[in-house]
Symmetry: C2
Subunit: 231 residues, 2 copies
């Protein structure tokens, strides 16, 4: 067998998902360079061997430099590779998935000036294999949300249980039984009530505000079975 390494294009791309109008939306950016200059695409860039300790740090750098964003949740999704996906030649894209509440994006002038949000079920034409990448990310987030605290990353710091349930429903794309939802939140053990804090209520009765317990702000809480599992 040959012993030499072929030179390959190695990039990171980031699927940043948020909730807008009760639907998952993905952040897209106009490409500044060829190929596909001017097209909306996932934010991404080359790995910089001198700067990035690993691919996760490359993804963090891309978010920071291109959008001024820091995502508390950044997980490796999968690696997309091959001869066919990039006109420049055989390429590797290590793809990360980030989740942010819309308010965190909206408060960032650079992010909003540079980016477009597209609903994941009504994507514009995307270059490379970015449509497949977004579909893979959405499927992963939906599957993982069935049995984990993942959707909390789409909420602000403080939320009521009905607000959190609405976020889970928006991510999963289907209604959840309220009793099952509350039992699941108890089982996950990740929430704590904020003492003395109630929502202002609006049209509804004021409701207790919750936040993530400190131990769960960096790590997911996992459940052994899904929200819509039987039993």
């Amino acid at each position: 067998m040959r012993e030499t390494a072929d030179p390959l294009i190695c990039t990171v791309d980031v699927v940043l998902l948020t909730l807008r109008d009760d639907a998952l939306a993905v952040l897209l950016q106009r490409r500044e360079r060829e190929p596909f200059k001017g097209a909306l695409a996932l934010p991404g860039g080359y790995v910089h061997a001198q700067e990035d300790a690993d691919a996760a740090q490359a993804a963090e750098r891309v978010l920071r430099q291109k959008l001024g964003l820091v995502s508390p949740y950044l997980e490796q999704l999968a690696t997309f590779s091959g001869a066919a996906r990039d006109p420049r030649g055989w390429s590797v894209s290590i793809v990360y998935c980030a989740l942010l509440p819309l308010a965190a994006l909206a408060s960032d002038t650079k992010a909003m000036a540079e980016a477009t949000l597209a609903p994941v079920d009504r994507l514009p034409p995307l270059p490379f294999d970015h449509r497949d990448i977004v579909a893979t990310a959405v499927q992963r987030v939906r599957t993982k949300s069935q049995y984990s605290s993942l959707p909390v990353y789409l909420c602000g710091d403080r939320f009521t249980l009905p607000q959190l349930q609405a976020v889970y429903e928006a991510v999963l794309g289907e209604p959840i039984n309220k009793v099952s939802f509350r039992r699941k939140m108890d089982e996950l053990g990740m929430l704590e009530p904020i003492a003395g804090e109630m929502s202002s209520g609006g049209a509804h009765r004021p409701a207790q505000l919750y936040r993530l317990r400190k131990a769960f702000r960096q790590a997911l809480s996992l459940s052994e079975r899904g929200l819509n599992g039987r039993g």
Copy 2:
């Protein structure tokens, strides 16, 4: 930002798992070249841009050329990358996980001549980050086995339900309630009895032999909740 790509080492590595003596074991091979020449390590190699359409095909080629093996199950596990993992410099390893029954390995002279099987909980010292990679693969296979047909890839073509339950227990590392197991197999709907075929029994009563239904030989059957989930 810079516009040029840094040259990176891009390899694929394969975690091939099997069951031996009711325990998960990983296939290791002595490295033929520096770095770590002579050390036991995961089988792997450079991506060959001219030969491999994508990284999955590179992993298939590595299994075929180095071990003479074809694995019906080959899934991307994760990508391990960074400046610290390989003395040659910043490197990317796209890692695939394969599952094979021990009999399929034992019947292959090349595979057995070239390879060593090590129990995953008693690994020899491994170079690079291969110990972390094996741990990640074992965790993934255990998690996925809770709610899918994955362990069937470790069985032969024909098996009794008690044999299949023993495989699930070996993968999960814990006993499973027989009634729950049979209910889960019904729910997954992936098995069919082989008409007129009974195991010879040995010390036990002869038992019905089953096989995977055709639709599930290429794709996993998934369940919404785990074998040891409540309810």
